[in-house]
């Protein structure tokens, strides 16, 4: 057996696991999405005709609203988390003191271990309609029951995840950058801000894109955050998929929505990595 073939053989167990537990179930979802659903049943009609109806249905404006709601908040949280995470990550990556670096990284990782349910209720207790800050909100004439306000609270919930995650990703990207490059820019007359815009940020664009995509993933797939903080008034696609599967047992429709989300995610990755390549050589 040649070396190349034995290497392939070594890959086999991993590939088998991947296919069995990931690819196969997704194919099942794909299959389900093309089946017909009859109200009252659990799942699709067995042996029923294949159909595109589950996808056609998604073109109705009410679905666009769900998608817009989810993606707008996810994009906002991703962009905001990059803006906040970059300076923090830069300071942590470039500090002279090793202990500051270790302590901050431990704190951030520790923060991510906190259960999402706990974080969400913490936000509700603080910013909710009966939260400790509610009196302050009413003084400032902010309606804690308005749709806009709820959007902000959900955004805060998403940022709780995406900021620490982005910091961790960006620390790695910035640490890979030669600090002399920033110094070279400064010595050539660029102000600190100009040096960041022309050198540090373009050279960490891959990290920024990764952080953005991971934040997007967290945001788009958020389930508990909109479920609790949205108070039933704002729902994400994940909540919609859940209700399709669990509450009305319309598996084909839930499957179709899931497939659309996956395609959108792949498109997003494609666009972002194209963008990163063009920005790198700008």
């Amino acid at each position: 057996m040649t070396a190349a073939r034995s290497k392939l053989m070594l890959l086999l167990p991993a590939v088998a696991v991947f296919v069995l537990f990931l690819v196969f179930p997704i194919l099942m979802v794909l299959n389900e999405s093309f089946h017909t659903f009859e109200p009252g049943r659990i799942g699709s009609v067995e042996g029923g005709p294949l159909t595109l109806a589950n996808y056609e249905e998604l073109f109705q404006p009410v679905y666009a609203q769900y998608f817009a709601q989810t993606y707008v908040l996810a994009i906002c949280s991703s962009a905001i988390s990059i803006i906040f995470a970059f300076p923090i990550a830069y300071c942590i990556a470039r500090t002279e003191f090793a202990w500051i670096q270790k302590a901050s990284i431990s704190a951030i990782v520790g923060l991510m271990f906190l259960s999402s349910l706990v974080r969400v209720y913490a936000l509700e207790l603080t910013f909710g309609s009966v939260g400790v800050l509610a009196p302050l909100m009413s003084i400032m004439d902010i309606n804690t029951n308005s749709r806009l306000y709820i959007n902000f609270v959900i955004l805060a919930g998403l940022l709780q995840y995406s900021i620490p995650m982005s910091i961790l990703i960006l620390i790695g990207a910035i640490k890979n950058l030669n600090p002399r490059l920033t110094e070279a820019a400064l010595s050539l007359g660029a102000s600190a801000l100009a040096a960041h815009i022309t050198v540090t940020i373009p050279l960490s664009i891959r990290g920024i894109v990764s952080a953005f995509l991971v934040s997007m993933t967290l945001g788009v797939s958020a389930f508990v955050i909109p479920l609790i903080l949205g108070r039933g008034r704002i729902l994400f696609i994940s909540n919609l998929i859940y209700s399709r599967f669990s509450e009305i047992a319309n598996y084909p429709s839930g499957a179709a929505i899931s497939i659309v989300m996956m395609v959108l995610a792949l498109l997003l990755i494609l666009v972002m990595s194209r963008l990163a390549t063009s920005l790198e050589r700008a």
């Binding site: 010595s187 050539l188 007359g189 660029a190």
Partner: protein
């Protein structure tokens, strides 16, 4: 007026004093080498001049202006980094043009200035390449062009040639010197490589443990080192611990080494307690076959019997290790030329050197 003036500059990191009371001044167009072992404070001095480190004491003046409060980008100082620090996402032309945008070169004048700088460093036509497409030597030239393009008041070179291989280093050293001279750049070269320091600098400053230990012309530093420390650091030497002997003839004192070898040297200006360190440079030594009859010695001459231990031919030079009485080892460097007869290990030789070439500390 001096382009650069450091007065009593001190920098501490915690309990460690990196730079202590360093004072320097530099005239326009001169090249000064800062030479010292790693950790001697030379790089910290450079970073203080560039504005990347703030001194704890003392003042820094560039062109008569106190720059103590100025940020790196507010001082017009050109910096060449050891690893060049070229911007990998920009072309050669963009790299060279980078500083000009901020230093007030009119946008219309930038392309022609880039062209001019690149032809100065012999890289005309490379404008569109990226740093990753260049060799180490070419990257170094781009970095130099970038640093010189803004017409800085001072150019600081941090170990400029250390990332290059030996042959390229020599070529680029000569070229670097020519370029610096042609643009009349006032320059500080920081290096731990004595050849680099002595060859590039009009003057050399030797630093040790944060302090300046000697400043002088390259030949002066080598021929009359101010202390044992400088003599040890610059060039190779044979060292002997010795005590003053009895005789003293015609301004030469005779010393006896710890191995009992008698060596004559110039009498030191002030007589200390009689214990001295003698230093003999290997290239000042002549080796002669013991069988050959010796010419009559004058007071200036040392002649010691020894046995050749090892002969190593290093191309232009031959390094000969001779064992002296009392097992002391002695290195002699001879030119690898035909008229000097070869030596073989085991051969008995006489080690000859002039007493005025012996350094006494």
């Amino acid at each position: 007026m001096n382009v650069l003036e450091l007065k009593d500059v001190t920098k501490k990191y915690g309990g460690f004093t990196a730079v202590e009371n360093v004072s320097l001044e530099l005239e326009p167009g001169k090249v000064l080498s800062l030479l010292g072992p790693s950790g001697c404070g030379k790089t910290t001095t450079l970073r203080i001049i560039a504005g990347f480190a703030a001194p704890d004491g003392g003042t820094v003046q560039i062109a008569g202006e106190d720059v103590g409060q100025l940020k790196p980008y507010e001082r017009n100082v050109g910096l060449l980094f050891q690893d060049y620090a070229l911007f990998p996402h920009m072309t050669v032309a963009q790299n060279v043009a980078y500083g000009m945008r901020y230093r007030g070169t009119p946008a219309a004048a930038i392309p022609s200035r880039v062209k001019q700088m690149l032809s100065l460093v012999q890289l005309a036509g490379m404008e569109a390449r990226y740093p990753s497409q260049l060799s180490g030597g070419q990257q170094q030239r781009v970095a130099l062009a970038r640093a010189l393009a803004t017409d800085p008041k001072i150019v600081l070179l941090d170990e400029p040639l250390s990332a290059l291989d030996a042959k390229l280093r020599l070529e680029l050293r000569i070229e670097l010197k020519e370029i610096l001279r042609s643009v009349g750049a006032t320059t500080i070269v920081v290096t731990h490589d004595q050849e680099e320091a002595l060859s590039l600098g009009d003057e050399v400053v030797i630093m040790h443990a944060g302090k300046i230990v000697q400043r002088g012309a390259p030949t002066q530093i080598y021929q009359s080192p101010a202390s044992k420390l400088v003599a040890e650091f610059v060039g190779r030497s044979n060292w002997f611990q010795a005590t003053r002997g009895s005789s003293s003839i015609a301004g030469f004192t005779s010393y006896v080494t710890s191995d009992g070898v008698e060596i004559r040297a110039k009498s030191p200006p002030s007589d200390r307690d009689g214990r001295v360190n003698l230093c003999v440079r290997p290239e000042h030594i002549e080796l002669m076959d013991s069988a050959v009859t010796e010419a009559p010695r004058d007071a200036d001459h040392n002649s010691i019997a020894g046995v050749v231990l090892d002969v190593a031919s290093l191309g232009p030079d031959v390094h000969v290790v001779v064992e002296l009485p009392g097992k002391a080892r002695f290195l002699a460097i001879r030119k690898n030329v035909r008229k000097i007869p070869g030596l073989a290990p085991g051969q008995c030789v006489r080690v000859l050197f002039s007493a005025s070439d012996v350094l006494v500390f």
